[in-house]
């Protein structure tokens, strides 16, 4: 079976002030259709660079992709003409960003922001939808992210919403174009633990109900366990270990993964090391 997304041997460096740093060293990972995959690693390991490379958001320069392929649905995104690439981003694959406040425009209502994105996606996909159709779709996605009063939320400005509601709006935004792949970079880390739990459950329910593939990017091993069934562990720009989530947590093979897991405090108290 071929994967929906397949990153193959991706190498990326950054050149700043005449110094070059190898940031990704031959990263390979697969996200099959409808699968829930996590990419976990500590700060600076290269998770966000991987995500940006997939989304086509790497600033080049200073970044340079020297090797590798990013296959999406059988096509290499890195050699795709820019126009087709742009058409995929935000349609077939969508991002859920971490920081709701800086990803929302403070002076527009939620409905205006979602409508703008929907129009854009519709245009790229050659869909025809009138004003009423767009309004209906906006209310529909707001309901899908379990907003209790989608009509009222649609009329709200971001400042009027709680942090958890803003994170839901961002998920709604990502769902607008009916993507096949959702990439989430540390969603909910800025939120309280109870709100984060709601957001993670929402994401899990959504990908299951809609058959979406999910690539969850996080530094939190607990979040990995809650949201994925396959995991890649990244350290210093390399995938050091991969495997089914439950098995990898129970029996990590690499020393790096073992140390990482051992460093996580347990809700049950001390574990004998």
């Amino acid at each position: 079976m071929t994967a929906l997304l397949s990153v193959q041997g991706l190498s990326v460096s950054f050149s700043t002030y005449g110094r070059t740093a190898e940031v990704l060293k031959g990263v390979s990972l697969d996200v099959p259709q409808g699968a829930q995959v996590a990419l976990v690693g500590e700060s600076g390991s290269g998770k966000s660079v991987t995500m940006k490379a997939i989304m086509g958001l790497l600033p080049q320069p200073p970044a340079r992709i020297h090797a590798g392929k990013i296959m999406f649905d059988g096509r290499d995104l890195l050699t795709l003409p820019e126009r087709e690439r742009v058409a995929l981003r935000g349609t077939a694959m969508s991002m859920v960003f971490q920081d709701p406040m800086s990803s929302l425009n403070p002076v527009w209502t939620i409905e205006d922001q979602l409508t703008t994105i929907l129009k854009y996606a519709d245009r790229r996909l050659g869909r025809d939808r009138d004003r009423r159709g767009r309004r209906a779709r906006v209310i529909e996605v707001l309901s899908q992210v379990r907003m209790r009063d989608p009509e009222r939320v649609a009329q709200s400005f971001p400042i009027m919403l709680s942090g958890g509601m803003r994170q839901r709006v961002l998920i709604a935004m990502a769902l607008l174009s009916e993507p096949r792949l959702l990439i989430a970079d540390e969603p909910g880390t800025a939120l309280d633990v109870t709100t984060q739990a709601q957001i993670l459950k929402l994401l899990r329910d959504l990908v299951e109900a809609q058959g979406l593939a999910l690539l969850m990017i996080t530094h939190n091993l607990g979040v990995v366990r809650e949201t994925s069934n396959y995991v890649y562990v990244m350290n210093k720009g390399e995938i050091v270990e991969e495997g089914p989530t439950a098995g990898l947590f129970a029996e990590p093979r690499q020393q790096y993964t073992r140390d990482l897991i051992a460093a996580v405090p347990r809700l049950t108290g001390r574990v004998a090391l």
């Binding site: 500590e42 633990v193 109870t194 739990a197 329910d205 530094h219 607990g222 996580v264 347990r266 809700l267």
Partner: protein, 290 residues
């Protein structure tokens, strides 16, 4: 035996302002909080954003005066005494709490000068760096030359400079990677034993709290809704809010998952704290404000 720290019925109210800056009400940020920490003990204060954790910490530090209540250190009230050498604090963000233009040595010297330390200051700085397991020559480094974990060690060294009795740790490791966090926590435990320190530990991370604190208080909207030995509170939580918090923790093993209380879903979703409180009070959760 007298407690190292005792706080009695602390209350702190802040004015709430409307969009035009006019005072439109008041929020009881801390609403009648009492607890004691025995000498050498670790008391964990858990609770979500805005529950009043930092306000309590600031009152203990003498940075904010309480409206009501009392704070006793070693059995003596310290209200109205301003700067308290016996209590020092380590903050969440190690980058922001160190002055970028001061070397590590200069930063550690600040409290020594402020509290007119009489001995050999240079030697004391070196000893403090030893204590937090950093090389002595780090005294000449600037914060930008240090990693996050190293900066937090410097912040701990600075807090220890005037030999405090009590350290208030406000989310001391939440900006650090887990592997670095584990080492900083080990260091704090080691220092606690060596120096007989008493800790007030503030954190969102309940798994970390379980491992570091002996007693825990769960704060919700300025009130402690549950308190007790950490093992008892985590294994047999008595309050709905504690249960909700525990149920929300992302965990990495089936043993931990089995320990989380099961919370009834509302419309297929984990309830919010407000929902749960409303349920408890017999209201319809959909009718409560969010």
């Amino acid at each position: 035996m007298t407690a190292a720290l005792e706080i009695r019925d602390l209350v702190k109210t802040y004015p709430v302002r409307n969009a035009f800056g006019r005072v439109s009400g008041a929020v009881r940020a801390v609403d009648g909080v009492s607890f004691t920490i025995p000498s050498g003990g670790v008391y964990g204060l858990a609770g979500e954003s805005g529950s009043g954790k930092s306000t309590i910490a600031r009152m203990i530090m003498g940075l904010t005066e309480p409206d009501e209540g009392d704070i006793l250190i070693d059995g003596v009230s310290v209200l109205g005494q301003g700067e308290r050498a016996k209590v020092q604090m380590v903050f969440q963000n190690p980058g922001a709490s160190l002055n970028p233009r001061r070397t590590v040595g200069q930063s550690i010297k600040v409290p020594l000068v402020a509290h007119t330390y009489q001995g050999d200051r240079k030697g004391r700085i070196g000893d403090l760096l030893d204590m937090v397991q950093l090389p002595r020559h780090f005294a000449d480094r600037y914060p930008h030359e240090l990693s996050g974990g190293q900066k937090q060690r410097v912040a701990i060294a600075r807090a220890l400079a005037v030999s405090p009795r009590l350290l208030v740790l406000d989310e001391p490791t939440s900006a650090l990677d887990v592997s670095v966090q584990a080492k900083v926590i080990d260091l704090l435990e080691e220092l606690g034993r060596q120096l007989g320190l008493t800790y007030l530990f503030i954190s969102h991370d309940l798994s970390l709290m379980r491992n570091f604190a002996q007693t825990v208080g769960v704060l919700y909207l300025g009130k402690i809704v549950e308190t007790g030995p950490v093992a008892r509170v985590f294994e047999r939580p008595g309050h709905d809010y504690t249960r909700l918090l525990l149920a929300s923790v992302p965990v990495i093993s089936t043993e931990e998952a089995a320990m989380r209380p099961v919370i009834p879903l509302i419309n297929g979703e984990m309830p919010t704290a407000e929902d749960l409180m409303a349920l408890r009070a017999g209201l319809n959760p959909k009718e409560t404000a969010r």
